[in-house]
Symmetry: C2
Subunit: 334 residues, 2 copies
Amino acid sequence: MTADSTSSGSAVRDGVLEIPGPVNLFHGGELPGAHIAWRLTGPAQAPVVVALGGISADRRVYPLGGADIGWWDEVVGHTKALPCEQYRLLSFDWLGGSGDSSGPQGDAAFPSISSYDQAEVLLRLLNHLGLRHVHAIVGASYGGMVALAFAERYPERVTRLCVISASDRAHPMATAWRSVQRQIIRFGLDAAQPERGLQLARALAMATYRSPEEFAARFSGSPRHDTDGFVFPVEEYLLARGADYTRRHRSGGFLCLSESIDLHRVDATGIFTPVFCVAVHEDQLVPVADIRAMGARLPNGKVFEISSVYGHDAFLKEAGQLAPIFARVLGLAL
Amino acid sequence: MTADSTSSGSAVRDGVLEIPGPVNLFHGGELPGAHIAWRLTGPAQAPVVVALGGISADRRVYPLGGADIGWWDEVVGHTKALPCEQYRLLSFDWLGGSGDSSGPQGDAAFPSISSYDQAEVLLRLLNHLGLRHVHAIVGASYGGMVALAFAERYPERVTRLCVISASDRAHPMATAWRSVQRQIIRFGLDAAQPERGLQLARALAMATYRSPEEFAARFSGSPRHDTDGFVFPVEEYLLARGADYTRRHRSGGFLCLSESIDLHRVDATGIFTPVFCVAVHEDQLVPVADIRAMGARLPNGKVFEISSVYGHDAFLKEAGQLAPIFARVLGLAL
């Protein structure tokens, strides 16, 4: 199923790939079949770049006008850091997430999903679209993990990776924070208050995505006193972000993809594709030291280091620092 | 009410100070009266050192034998970093906590408590014990905040402070993490599952007390698969620590004292008592930069910096690094 349209002289294709079952999953589970919502935009014949974001990202990378939204709209678009007029951009809704691909129904459980499963989804999508080869996968956070898994398994299908704020495995401290988030969500489900659980889990996640420096600059004001007691500026912010999140996401998808991050393990020494890594000094979830260590293990790895008060969220915000890296990495003849 | 005994030639006095009401609190609340459980140990005539720890600490600083326990037993004791044979050690159960002082009944709410309120409790305790003057207050974490509040208000009653992993105000990122912990606890109370809420809040707190380096060294193993899905090593550890905590603490006390940390603000420029600060490079809750900045604002401040994989919990663990600091600070003629 495909809907084709053109926007600003570029083709836009939105589609849903049906994968017949049984779909055998890396961690041992099985699906009776799956569907994957995808989007491909950009000038015909332009090189294809797969753009993959965090667990809350989806196929809408940048807004196509009207009411459309895009999770990477500060970085991707016309003449932006990742210029949509030079590349065809492909993305998809994660398997197991809250989007339009197969995932948990409502707040129900779903089999454990591996970054290798997402990589296989991408392979099937490339086959479906007749793309023998893509110019690059640009993946950030969970999307960077999926990019690494893809290159390990299907090296002949991609020329280079650009991996931002992701490593070959999760850091145990980041697993600690995510484990607590998942426990909060399970608490919410058990207490028949899934939205409250999801709100609190997202509030906690937001604190780990940003840096102490940013919070010190934004939230040093005094608490206000309401009927329930004191409310701190940072508390109000996190709860508001958490509440927003519950309008677009479900507990089940959060549980599944959060766990998938912590289950991620690839063998960097077996990834021969050139991998350009971007590490952020202030990232609390993926320490620079971990990306440096992966860079040293990768046969063709190179690490760029940047500084950003946005911490793990730098990939969403730091268009100015990412632009020259993307230009260099995507412009290389490999 | 006082129970006197002797142990190893040292006096041990356990008592409860009754404070008649109304007790007016810094943040505007009022108590109809309060009682404070305290302990004073050590050789008669030895200089008095007040030892104050985190929000989970109490009057039992080091074990007195038998089934007695002490929150600082790796650091304080006979010939230890803080030698109990050289000093009389005074401590008390926090007002508003889960111990034997006045605090929330069960999981009920309690007025907001300031570090200034705890300082006033200490003042009343010194008056009650006839101690015109103490040699030092050694305070870590919340106890360090209370030490600062005491010296600002009652400078004539203490000669020096040793303040470990505490600053003149909480960092907004630390407030973020604690706000989420309090929200989890309120969720537990609303869902009539206070123990589960307290367990999760403590699990999250533990992750902030320690360092990424420690967790990387201890918890890099693979997850195990149980009937509910994957369980990660660090998740199992945090939940076990959280469950332990619920056996000795109540939600109400956690809420009250956690909030008290975030409400803490003292004026460092108005503290003329010599303050010896200890900052831990790996502390995620109280960044070294904050303690350095406070050290620069204190008229008589000095900052020692140490490194520890135990992060914010270094004060509980790093007896070897604290011993020379205590010896120097407590030995000074001021």
